[in-house]
């Protein structure tokens, strides 16, 4: 780890001021990706602004229409939340599948989506459920938030404050784990919002993406068979030592089908 300066932000405004002062500073949320990268000297921010003690960023609220989760809410809190389990069990389940127990006790929703690891689970939830990302400056629609590999719509100095998940009629997440890292080799969130169906895939490509063909088919008939024969093209999908693009493409179909099965249960 390279040397850096460290400060605790008092509140979101204080954190934003810190970022304004030092454009190279980085926000520290749970740190489960950032600290690991810094330890390997792959990331070298000169300053860390720790959001850890800002209580306004932490917490879960549900109003019957939306579940709003503070950016600094831990994965373990989302997974265990009775509100989330009741309103969007698929989201609680997804959170319970991130990393391992100890990682979930530190890692945060805001940190995860700001980092936008191509194999992270949360992007599938945000896009699959059609959530809205709220920042200290604006609201960003899920479909506009994730831009590419480790890239988001966040402007410099912009801080995620919460994510609002509309409560779907039914939804489910299915994940095929990369066996070593436990990130998603392929993760599929299927959600029937009541108005339409959304299918979001993480892990398979450089960034979370939707599968329109599956969405349309499921919109007509929400059943496993509707997606069983829909193949996503493997062109552009990730190919590495853990899985070829072809295999990932295949898993998208299998996981989507299983997610629909689960959503119907």
């Amino acid at each position: 780890m390279y040397a850096f300066t460290y400060r605790k932000a008092k509140d979101v405004k204080d954190a934003a001021a810190g970022l304004a002062k030092n454009a190279d500073a980085k926000l520290l949320a749970g740190g489960q990706s950032l600290i690991a990268a810094m330890k390997l000297r792959l990331s070298a921010p000169p300053e860390l602004i720790d959001l850890g003690t800002i209580s306004e960023l932490r917490g879960i609220k549900s109003d019957g229409k939306n579940v709003v989760i503070g950016a600094m809410t831990r994965h373990a809190e989302v997974a265990a939340s009775t509100d989330v389990k009741k309103a969007i069990p698929a989201l609680a389940y997804l959170a319970s599948q991130i990393g391992d127990r100890m990682v979930r006790n530190m890692g945060t929703l805001g940190g995860a989506i700001a980092h936008n690891d191509p194999a992270a689970d949360y992007p599938a939830a945000v896009v699959g459920l059609g959530a809205t990302v709220e920042t200290n400056k604006r609201k960003i629609d899920a479909d506009a938030f994730f831009k590419g590999i480790y890239e988001t719509a966040l402007d410099p100095g912009e801080i995620i404050t919460s994510v609002s998940f509309p409560i779907p009629k039914r939804a489910a997440y299915m994940k095929f784990k990369q066996p070593a890292s436990r990130f998603a080799m392929v993760g599929v969130m299927v959600a029937d919002t009541g108005k339409d169906v959304r299918v979001a895939v993480t892990g398979a490509g450089p960034c979370v993406f939707r599968v329109k063909e599956m969405e349309q088919a499921l919109g007509k008939k929400f059943a496993p068979d509707s997606v069983a024969n829909i193949k996503v093209p493997d062109k552009g999908l990730n190919s590495d030592i853990h899985a070829s693009a072809e295999y990932r493409a295949h898993l998208v179909t299998v996981m989507a089908k299983r997610a629909v099965e689960a959503a119907l249960k």
Partner: protein
């Protein structure tokens, strides 16, 4: 620029001037000389560094000491009773031969205690799934799982 960090470790208030980049695990091992918390990897996979922070198991190698400012920390040295009597989880590990080289053991025990607090009556399947943040290269997990299943009701009875 050193920064001051303070926390409570195994019931004792501690504080020190540390470099900002000091990881919590280094603070525990090097500043406090509590060497029961181990480091087995660089990527937060192995779980040998697992400690309890404010009641939750976390990986001390994947966080800064400053992130534990003001926290209540329990390390493996703080698990047994003051007179040296083993905690039921430690006792179950001994009884069931759930450790061999001992290197993963401190993290495994802390993780196991956290597990049975959340699942007072876990199935074998739950235990295996919930241990995914801790590697053991010696035991094949078999006896660790047995020990946790055995200790679960005893730990529940402690509360």
């Amino acid at each position: 620029m050193p920064v001051k960090v303070s926390m409570t470790v195994n019931g004792k208030p501690v504080s020190a001037e540390v470099e900002e980049r000091t990881l919590l695990v280094n603070f525990i091992r090097e500043h406090l000389r509590l060497t029961g918390t181990h480091v087995g990897c660089d990527t937060a996979q192995c779980g040998a560094c697992t400690i309890e922070m404010n009641g939750d198991a976390v990986k001390a190698c994947n966080m800064l000491a400053m992130q534990a400012e003001g926290a209540k920390i329990t390390t493996i040295e703080g698990i047994a009773a003051a007179d040296g009597t083993l905690h039921p989880m430690q006792e179950a590990f001994r009884e069931h031969h759930a450790l061999q080289c001992g290197f993963c053991t401190p993290g495994m025990v802390i993780s196991a205690i956290d597990l049975v607090r959340r699942h007072p009556n876990p199935s074998e399947e739950v235990v295996r799934a919930e241990l995914d943040g801790n590697f053991c290269r010696c035991t094949g997990y078999h006896n660790i799982v047995k020990a946790i299943l055995d200790a679960a009701p005893k730990v529940a009875a402690m509360r």
